[in-house]
């Protein structure tokens, strides 16, 4: 297969009438290598290893368990997915009577960013019988107080819509 981009470090020989390409992967990697990105990736890996992958997993499980508990206390909120110990830091939920895009918009006005939509899985939405869902996700920099803000925001959504 011929390369579709040309540049530095990707040829073997260039003649007036013929050019041959370098070995893979070089012939498809024309130009200056993304050195800053490679160094950045290394730094990110060092950082995660210093924190500890197991600690991050533990933190996510704790946040998810807390979020599922708090959401279960709000009437009209449905959550989907496995129990907390079997999932990563992510919770999909529905607020009865309010479209997820309205939920997300009102939360956004409170500075809470969630994802709303069909999440690139329309067949699952059909199976669940919903147009879309809300999805909040947590990571090592998320703190429990932010989940409190999320649940307070959902109460504000319900108040706004009178549901």
């Amino acid at each position: 297969m011929d390369p579709f981009l040309t540049g530095g470090h990707m040829i073997r020989k260039v003649r007036a009438d013929e050019t041959t390409w370098g070995e893979l992967p070089h012939k498809f990697e024309a130009g200056t290598a993304p050195m800053a990105e490679a160094v950045g990736l290394g730094a990110a890996i060092d950082y995660l290893e210093a924190v500890g992958i197991e600690s991050i997993e533990q933190h996510e499980h704790e946040l998810v368990a807390y979020a599922l508990d708090k959401l279960a206390d709000i009437p009209g909120v449905t959550t989907w997915g496995p129990p907390a110990d079997k999932r990563a830091g992510i919770v999909s939920f529905d607020v009865a009577g309010v479209h997820p895009h309205d939920v997300a918009q009102i939360l956004d006005l409170d500075g809470i960013a969630i994802r709303a939509g069909h999440h690139c899985c329309q067949p699952l939405m059909t199976r669940l019988g919903v147009a879309a869902t809300n999805r909040a996700s947590f990571y090592l920099y998320t703190v429990p107080e932010e989940i409190d803000r999320l649940t307070a925001g959902i109460l504000r959504v319900k108040e706004t819509f009178g549901v």
Partner: protein, 145 residues
């Protein structure tokens, strides 16, 4: 007014909770439906003309989706009742947006004009006129038929 009050004005929530012109009309002279595949918003609109075959006598809609899409369609039914089909078929979207009266992001803008697009498709089809060019791209995107 706060951002929340502005976006979900009382009138928007009122139209969402108590949609005007709700229900599909029997013996309709013009119908069309559309959906916004990104949001899952759906709207079906039906129209009945008066004895002159031109005045919009009744307009009904059914749908589901976000507050903006459903409230905008409800407001639209009130706006167009009693007006000429040929006039509504070329109604500028700004007229509806002015009525909605809230700032909309590009994505929510599509929610807001879904009903208007469906109505235009219905009217142009009933009258045998082509959908104006500026609506054709949107008609494909919003799956109006």
């Amino acid at each position: 007014m706060s951002d929340l009050d502005q976006l979900y004005r009382e009138v928007i929530l009122d139209h969402y909770k108590n949609p005007r012109g709700h229900g599909v009309l029997e013996d309709a002279d013009a119908t069309a439906e559309g959906q916004n595949p990104l949001c899952g918003d759906e709207v079906t609109i039906s129209v009945r003309f008066g004895p002159d075959g031109e005045t919009i006598d009744e307009v009904g809609f059914e749908g589901r989706g976000c507050a903006i899409s459903q409230a905008a369609t409800s407001m639209l039914t009130e706006m167009v009742k009693g007006r000429k089909a040929s006039e509504v078929a070329v109604l500028p979207k700004d007229e509806l947006l002015q009525e909605i009266g809230i700032p909309l992001t590009p994505i929510r803008l599509k929610c807001a004009i879904l009903g208007l697009g469906v109505l235009k498709v219905a009217l142009h089809r009933a009258k045998g006129t082509p959908l104006p060019e500026e609506w054709q791209g949107l008609a494909n995107e919003l799956e109006l038929s």
